[in-house]
């Protein structure tokens, strides 16, 4: 499969106690044609602006673009894979879609801890996704329940996925 591997080989988390205000983490992935097909399949959104190069040329974007929620998926992956990491419970997310994501764009999710809510063990984070030109494509904030237990494990491998064009 042509989808790019995320840059994570070990899953290690930060517990609520370990996480510090202002702590940061990053997570990157590059958009491929296969990603467009897989996101269309899993969401059911088969709009041709994501899948048909010729159709997309006639749109305001001029080429195929990622589904907006593809970048939402990268933000959720950053939270689940990097910080707080495995065991995180996702409670809420605000997303503002600011710029399109195009084939070959390397999207980096930047996480920063904004708030620790002691009683409930909630953490709020700034979640900003930028492209390889440093431009923001999606901005927003997340609220999560941080892990209680420390975890460290190898990142599991996925089965092979083949797309038959």
């Amino acid at each position: 499969m042509q989808t790019s591997e995320a840059d994570v080989s070990t899953l290690e988390n930060f517990t609520f106690e370990e996480i510090e205000l202002g702590q940061t983490a990053e997570y990157s992935k590059t958009l491929t044609e296969d990603d467009l097909v897989l996101f269309a399949a899993v969401s059911g959104d088969v709009n041709p602006v994501h899948l048909d190069a010729e159709f997309a040329r006639g749109t305001m974007f001029g080429e195929r673009i990622a589904h907006g929620m593809y970048t939402g998926g990268l933000i959720s992956a950053a939270l689940a894979m990097k910080m707080p990491g495995p065991g995180t419970i996702y409670l809420g997310q605000n997303l503002k879609f600011e710029r399109p994501v195009k084939l070959g764009d390397e999207i980096t999710v930047h996480l920063k801890v904004l708030e620790k809510i002691e009683g409930k063990k909630f953490i709020t984070l700034d979640t900003t996704a930028t492209n390889q030109h440093g431009k923001t494509v999606v901005s927003g904030t997340a609220t999560v329940l941080a892990p209680k237990q420390k975890t460290r494990m190898p990142a599991p491998a996925l089965p092979a996925i083949e797309i038959r064009r």
Copy 2:
């Protein structure tokens, strides 16, 4: 592939002028094992709570659950496929993750137009996803730029996707 087809064979949109306050639409999809693998591949989130049945049995969920943003993807698909439909520009989304989504769950996204902002042609919608038991799994609101031009086309077919386990 075992991912369920969404219930849409024709892509038809509603322009800003056509959309009425209170107008509703629904979009449904059932979570399969393949969806879990495809969402893991496209997002890079390979946490075992989504992929490893034995691991998931030992978690608070007791079984594999969908990535939270899988349901975010269904909400975005509902907006892009059903209402307003093709040509919609996604501007923002708030999501509150209320309950886990499990294998075989049929998730229905319920859209309802809350507001039409005349000058900018923005529309805000209530976006609530429920499971087959009528329980809310994700709630929130979306802001979109509604299509200017009427469109009607057959829904494109996706290439075959094979997962080699």
